[in-house]
């Protein structure tokens, strides 16, 4: 049986964020996470997409973002592709935890929630890959 998967090709417009949250929330629930875990995964993906909108496309709303979420044998694999500015890897998770500075919160959320995260610069653009494993109760 083929696992669940959803794909989006969307503009870098924040008005798409609720649409993605709705779809990814339903997908993670279908795969088997509980409500709190679904909310956390949805938040992490929302943060990753928002970072592309803010930093890769620098607030432009006409950039292309491609999202693929696919159920794997042990959880969820997420891929995001954009053609904007590459991420500055030195700034990812550079914020001191617990401080009162407003910036840099999103990358900490992504790292905390997802089990693995990577950023690649490819010929087709910037690729963000993340994996979340489903820990089944035995």
């Amino acid at each position: 049986m083929t696992g669940f998967q959803v794909s989006f090709a969307m503009a870098s417009d924040p008005r798409y964020l609720p649409v993605v949250r709705g779809a990814v929330g339903a997908l993670t629930a279908a795969i088997g996470w509980d409500e709190a875990e679904c909310r956390a995964i949805v938040l992490a993906l929302d943060e990753a997409i928002a970072n592309i909108m803010r930093h890769a496309y620098q607030g432009r709303s006409d950039g292309l973002i491609e999202l693929q979420c696919r159920e794997s044998a042990d959880g969820l694999e997420v891929s995001l592709l954009d053609r904007g500015e590459p991420p500055d890897l030195s700034k990812i998770c550079a914020r001191e935890v617990g401080c009162n500075l407003p910036g840099g919160l999103g990358t900490h959320i992504i790292r905390d929630v997802m089990d693995s995260v990577s950023y690649q610069r490819t010929e087709s653009g910037n690729r963000f890959l993340a994996v979340k494993r489903l820990r089944k109760n035995t």
């Binding site: 924040p14 609720p18 407003p102 919160l105 900490h108 959320i109």
Partner: protein, 118 residues
């Protein structure tokens, strides 16, 4: 997202209903920064917020920092489970003054000014 403000004594209560994300946090930021200089206590009711992301949390941190600069009180109340989870994920829950109810937030407001020196 819907935002409303009402005055209760010397405090301002801000109610937010809906999702606070990259697309809406700017409106919340503008509202809170406009209200802050005009009150002693700015209290934000988070109960009807269904979703908040890091841009929303960053907005609250900015307002908190400005409230300290202006010697005002910025208080959060009515945190839902979903909102509290995001506060914990961002490790900033301890920098805010958070109470459960509007009344507790109002208890932090100073009383009316004393009479005009009669």
């Amino acid at each position: 997202m819907k935002i409303s403000i009402r005055d209760v004594g010397l405090a301002k209560i801000v109610e937010v209903d809906g999702d606070v994300d990259l697309g809406t946090s700017g409106a919340l930021r503008r509202t809170l920064f406009a209200a802050l200089p005009e009150t002693s206590v700015l209290a934000l009711n988070l109960q009807a917020i269904r979703y908040i992301d890091s841009s929303g949390i960053a907005t609250l941190i900015e307002v908190l920092n400005d409230s300290r600069r202006l010697n005002k009180q910025f208080i959060l109340f009515g945190l839902s489970t979903a909102v509290e989870e995001v506060f914990r994920l961002t490790h900033v829950i301890r920098i805010f003054r958070i109470v459960e109810t509007e009344q507790e937030a109002l208890d932090d407001a100073p009383g009316p000014p004393a009479g005009g020196g009669l």
